[in-house]
Subunit: 382 residues, 4 copies
């Protein structure tokens, strides 16, 4: 096996839900005579999805996103009879060309990412029977910019409640702890962390930091969530009152400018700043200069010889300072994709036109499969 | 500042105990007219120790170990008036030459690592008033191979009870969790881990894995420790009975051949093997071939198409798959070094000839300082 | 102070939210010229509420429920100028008479419990401007049996989301652990508990048992909740597959007949049964005879000399085997009562006719107050 | 069965180690022709031990301690052929008479409690081949007051390291949480507890309180233990600095006068005091008057209308406010008793004259049995 094939094989082994689905979908040839056009990062985990679709009878054409395509994986997919467009070196212009190439296959079903395929299909007039959209951003684009052009059902994967549970609460919580340790080489016990935001992600982060002995303060404006945090044993404070004792400040609110220059002035010398929210805008540095200190750490010099440290440029600490989405969250999301595509391909019973949530029965089916996979040894000998 | 100087400064900031000691030792010029010869990895954290000794009046000559010297750090130390021998490219032969160069400074006090300096001093007849030894291996060498040649007190740092608490229990426990996640990109919840050994390291690993939701089985032959594990809520099993349900097997016993080929045959397909003990010998693979899968992961192919996965070649998962010793454990060990050297330099009151444990009052002093550092913001503005 | 007055004073001290509200309501004389009719257990905690209402200007008449009135508390209330009807020895007939006596005061505002006052008011035609209802049962009675007779707003306290958080998750969770230990004199570590139901109460119970080292299996039919349980690290099983290894079985589903005779036949000898759901019907014993063993424990003799043990007759273990609702949950509920009554008394802005949830701003206000109380010493010297 | 017989049967069922030993000891008739004299509380759990000894061939005579004998249990033992002296109503004088009656049976082996039997045997000159002593107090009496009079081996049960693990750390830790909840009817989350002492008991208490969401401060004078506490994530403070924020103060140091009047003056109004150490002397109240508030709670009135609350008169909260020693700790202690008596009765191989620790092999044997019992359903159908 090539290196890429090894990596795909390893991903397959550790994505028990998706690989478990494969034999069922293949047995029924669910995608027989179905052409699926895909826009999704080309890497080992998505490669498993492609091969599952292919084994279940689909004709598959895929393009990745600019700059992330793993060329070895692309080659492995091509060897398996899948049309792959694009390479790592591509820029925005090549990306649009790749999208057009996928649409050129006249796909009846789309797996979209940011609504790029939907936009191309709307321009070209290619007839489509339905599809899925990976992101909330793409769903918004369908509802706004592309409103009126989508005459087929689109299942939006990212809004599944399973993602809040698996990815936001547990995935983000555990990988932020890992990312902090990896980036800083520091231990957690007794360190005073201030976590700003007690939504799904925030409570995961706060809980896992505390499980490692961290002294966690929660900042949360919603009174009921704040009470929940206190009853779980956390200190709850106003941001202004928490800063002076904070050694590590983590933002995860989804709102811009949560931490601003005036807050930085109150933090003690040596405090560390990190963000776990989707955008880096949660921490506003103003005109502070940044000096690289070591991989993933920059020093901010404030008046009075005060030094603060910013992790991974304020980008999501678990992704920028870690190994990407944990494989379990990918197994979940790609399994939701596979079953949603199968629903569309088999006539889309119960679906309506336009963007819509993952059908409840698919959520329950994937939850049941993931539960089963979590509790058993990976697999019996093949 | 150069990149190396930035890294040294960052280490200093996050080693509050050692840097806190600096002003006290400097005020008293504890090492005035004292020549200290050092054998220790030349990297940012040890550089902080060197500068602390220097600021307190010592004349310092240091050499690293073959292959680990960071040349930029060496340059920064030289700029600070410290004699540094060796460079990254050095091999064993150059190392011996570097040792001799350090001894050529006629040091009155030694900071030794593996008893290399003690051996050279014994050969050369350089008069020495005392020193420290970092490792248990070095202490054993002093007691055996070099017995009779050591006429001065040597404080053995590694045997301090503080290391069992800070490094073995908490440091290893947390960094093994980090190393597992970093290497595999997998989450912990509900995964069945079997931890072989419930000593200081083992209980740290078992506890922290469980705090992340792992389903942890403990294997421990000592009946009293096994009962302790059970009362903390762990499953306790014989290794033979634990294997069939194990998804991740972690050895941390200090004994060779704990896991052997017959055990591998009982593990389920897809199981992961890792070691947290000092030597990789705990897992014996026999003649199984290893195929690299991704960074830090090798596949072992067993009969019947069974695949097992070995992490970081069976070497310590937290070090080989992570970022080295956490900075807190270095702060602890180097602070013990600084105070032990000061004890020797100031006449060695209460010390005896030959290897001996860290004096109780030094352990208590460092414990008190570390406690204080753990609970306060890093430092107030300088 | 009399013994009852001591108890009332102690309750007041440990109900910081309600007693904190008192000065605010009194300063504004919120209930000036308002007659409030109350049906609620007459005991120290409700006595604090009565005195708060009285201090804020209300004329108060109260009756308890049959058999629960604490006569000393009733006397203390009477001494404070409150009309109290009923005594401990009362039966159902006297209770109806007491209800009529309260209604005879022509209350403009009602604090009702099971809609007893509402029914009496409907019969007598007493004009009422609004009120509160403590229970869901009372709310259902208002919607069904009394539909059409209620021409005023009724705020239903029990449906507040704060109760799910404070009482169901944390209150029930902690007091079930206490009740189990109190009743059985057994420790938790390593004991295999099977918790049937992973709703708000069930997850509280499962989490707190595990925090004490219990080996907890969760049984839950809803796939998404079951996945949540697994990701929190619990074993998840079908009831049928969990029974044979169960040492303690706890039901908390809200459904009748969850555990039936065929399940008892599968439990091992010596297993313990308990219920934490509202009704004892969750465990059906059929015709098994019960032999008292010690306080709160009965033995069930099954064929084959198998013995099972039933705690507190299958009634809610935390209440029947413990000290009643924890004071924090009473502080919460009675504070919601006080502010809801104040809303009604001050004109009921924003309220509609008939039963309705606690207004969102009142929930937030109480959450904020409770959060503040949880985090500070009880009170400063008066 | 009588009520007492039911209780004995229930104890037997939940003391798997001791009842498991019974068949082994009986099969070998380990105590054939052996007369055992016992001084131990006469209650259901010790009754199980008596019946185990009897079934293994011993002739048994027992007396309890003044005021604790359960007469029904005594009757049940008598019905089983055991000589029981004393009744609940007995005072000190009758106790001495009962001791003499037991010694009158000319026992060759003693199970002693406070060295009462040893003293009587020393006076009477009864020949004894060996025995056990339950308490440390009794062991001290053997070493001091009775030094020179003991010509036989005495195994001191209370010093077994298993007791530190099972009883001190886990038993005391869990039952203090239970006792606090039972006595106060309060919840744990977010409440600020200050635990004075981080020995075996103290760390159990601190850990279990935190597992219930308590905000725990540890006060500990030993620097190394204090560092351990901090690394486990606890706040560590000087007592003087902890008091002003303390809502519940728990002493568990083994030293008198740990908390004195000047400390009480610093506590906030409403703070609660409790003791988990063996003697109530840890909290010194001086001349403060105590007013009963409710069962197990007294109010202390300080100047400035400050009120403090003392739980269970400062006696061990878990015992005085709870249900006595948890059955697992009794199972452990009585199993150590049974095997130690068997060692003495079978010739006392390896034992020396006078008080001595439990032999290591007996500790390991009991640890192994308890481990096994903790992990399996109580028993299979008889």
């Amino acid at each position: 096996m090539s290196e890429a094939e090894e990596q795909i094989e390893w991903a397959r082994t550790h994505m028990p839900v998706l690989s478990g689905l494969s034999s069922e979908l293949s047995a029924k040839k669910v995608f027989a005579e179905c052409r699926i056009g895909i826009c999704l990062h080309v890497e080992p985990k998505t490669a498993v999805l492609c091969s599952v679709l292919r084994a279940a009878g689909a004709e598959v054409a895929i393009t990745g996103s600019p700059g992330t395509t793993q060329d070895g994986v692309a080659d492995a997919l091509r060897a398996g009879g899948i049309a792959v467009y694009g390479r790592r070196a591509d820029g925005t212009r090549e990306h649009q060309h790749n999208i057009d190439s996928v649409v050129g296959h006249a796909p009846g079903v789309l797996l979209d990412n940011g609504a790029d395929l939907a936009a191309a299909v709307a321009s070209s007039g290619t007839p489509v029977s339905g599809g899925t959209e990976e992101t909330t951003t793409g769903a918004n684009r369908l509802r706004e910019e592309l409103a009126g052009t989508v005459s087929y059902p689109v299942i939006v994967i990212n809004d599944s409640p399973l993602k809040a549970i698996v990815e936001n609460q547990h995935g983000v919580g555990q990988t932020i702890v890992e990312g902090f340790m990896r980036t800083t080489n520091l231990l957690i016990p007794r360190r005073r962390f201030t976590v700003v935001g007690f939504g799904w992600c925030g409570r995961g982060i706060a809980r896992y930091l505390r499980q490692f002995g961290g002294d966690v303060v929660v900042v949360e404006r919603d009174e009921v969530r704040a009470l929940e945090a206190a009853l779980e044993g956390f200190h709850v404070r106003e941001l202004e009152h928490a800063l002076a004792d904070t050694r590590v400040l983590i933002t995860v609110t989804g709102r811009p400018g949560v931490v601003r220059r005036e807050h930085l002035d109150t933090l003690p010398d040596g405090a560390i700043l990190a963000n776990a929210g989707h955008f880096s805008w949660e921490i506003e540095l103003g005109d502070l200069s940044r000096t690289p200190v070591r991989d993933g750490i920059e020093r901010l010099d404030l008046p009075g010889e005060k030094r603060l440290y910013l992790l991974t440029r304020g980008e999501m600490l678990n992704l920028a300072g870690g190994g990407g989405n944990p494989i379990e969250t990918m197994d979940l999301g790609l399994s939701l994709q596979a079953l949603s595509l199968a629903r569309v391909a088999s006539g889309g019973e119960g679906l309506t036109v336009g963007p819509q949530p993952v059908p409840d029965d698919i959520n329950r089916d994937v939850a049941r499969r993931m539960l089963s996979a979590l509790q058993t040894p990976v697999s019996s000998p093949r």
